[in-house]
Amino acid sequence: MQAAEQIVSAATMSLPDTLSVRVGKRLPGADRDFALEVDLTISPGITILFGPSGAGKTTLLDCIAGLTVPSSGQIAIGNKVFFDLDREINLPAQTRRIGYVFQDLALFPHLTAAKNVAYGLAEATRSEQRKQVDTILESFRISHLRERRPGEISGGERQRVALARALVTDPCLLLLDEPLAGLDAPTKSKIIDDLRAWNRVHRIPILYVTHSREEVFALGEQVIVLENGRVVAQGTPHEVMTAPRQETVAQLAGFENILDAVVIAAHEDRGTMTCRIADSNVDFETPLVRVETGSALRIGIRAGDILLATMPPQGLSARNVIPGHVVSLQQRDVIVSARVDCGVEMEVQLTLAARDALQLQAGREVWLIVKTHSCHLMAS
């Protein structure tokens, strides 16, 4: 992206630094107190912070930005210390040079897009300000909005203005709290492309909070899963999301079907085992793991990993073919979600075209096809 390269020449490049965060924060709650306790090292590049609401994601960002004072610990980027309880260091937010895009964006409603973006450039001369604002507006393709106020532009445009406002200050760290929530997929992926292009030139750590699995795979080089104020998983998106050990991670990772099961037979020779779903006589063939026959476990199956057939299929490599009938069909965006009763109720996702081709409707007899390795095992 040419425009992004122009920004480099305008801004002074700083060496990429690693963010280290070791903080504790106790917050009194209505039912019980909430405690955040994390120890993280975040390298330059995009790191996804993933977790259910109330996991402490925003609290963590606020601690890093200096908007909330941690109860203990240390926060530093490179050798610049933001916070250190023992050494009584607590840099105020305005001196930390952190770009922060808030969940609700927090654009100044009384200022135009250009003035919002220029807000963080108070120390630059007027002509320098103008140059930098022009460059960043152009690279985020919002030059035509410069004289408009936040109330007069669309959601996606507002999100671009908020990103531009944070990036133009040449921050040493970027915090993004669900900056693309509520946008349609094409707009989202365009903004993600712009952000990645920007990050290629400005190698700073970006901490990106999201609920969306698509964004995890589209953006993240690293994923951190936060739950109840603690880190429960960390790694590349592929490592974390495809082999979840914890049920919460599994739900977040998009296992719509999570079934309690009991191991009834192990087939050492085939590398598989047979598991019976609790309270049913449905059996699944799953990958073999080291457990005793009779032990309980959970099977996670993605709704998108299940095939549907309207006739008994033959000559398949998939080991699990389970008869059932459609209970209901629900359209979400361009995906159809079918609930199928086959002794247990399962969710299956298919395309609109597939639904029409199969003439699916409630009550229709179907066969579910699940590959052995689409059955992900978790401890129960």
Binding site: A65, Q94, R97, F108, Y119, A122, A166, T169
Partner: protein, 224 residues
Amino acid sequence: MDWQAFWLTIRLAVLVAALLVAMGLPIAYWIAYSRWRWKFLVEAVVALPLVLPPTVLGFYVLLALGSRSPLWRWWQAMTGHTLAFTFTALVIGSVIYSLPFAVQPFAASFALVDPKLLAASATLGASKLRTFLRVVLPLSTPGLVTGVALSFAHTMGEFGVVLMVGGNIPGVTRTVSIDIYDQVEAFNFSSANQTALVLLAISFAALCLVYGMNRKLWELWPWK
């Protein structure tokens, strides 16, 4: 109609409103953002003039300005003049008396500014003062106009405090409301009525400005 009293009152009201902006903004800022546990005490003191009889307030202001008070001695040493029954005394009494009419709308409008905007301003490197000037103040315009208009109108019409601390010296402390009182005492009803009508019109105009502002009158303004 006593034009001398009228201009004196206008001068007083403008001066008091200006002083209240200068003093009221920091007090209101502190009330809106402080987390001090005893803050309510300050809020109660600021609101006192709302419920206190003006004569009580005037009485204590008079005592404070009198020859036995340290304030009087300080003022005497500084200027060589006394304070009681002067225009300055009138200004001091009026500022105290109208304080809640300025501070409360200011503080209420500051508190309405989304705290996320203040956080955004801080992360963009702005100091507290810059945040106040560039974000809080512009977003509080209706509250500012309300505070200024109310303290102006309230000072225009005050009577008790003025009488206590200023007396009734033409050209120095004789305000419109005291003029009206004198006219009525002298059974000069038509003259009292004229002056009263002017006060009524000014008060009505001030309140129209307040409510119009809060309804974003300027969006309907035909000549903008």
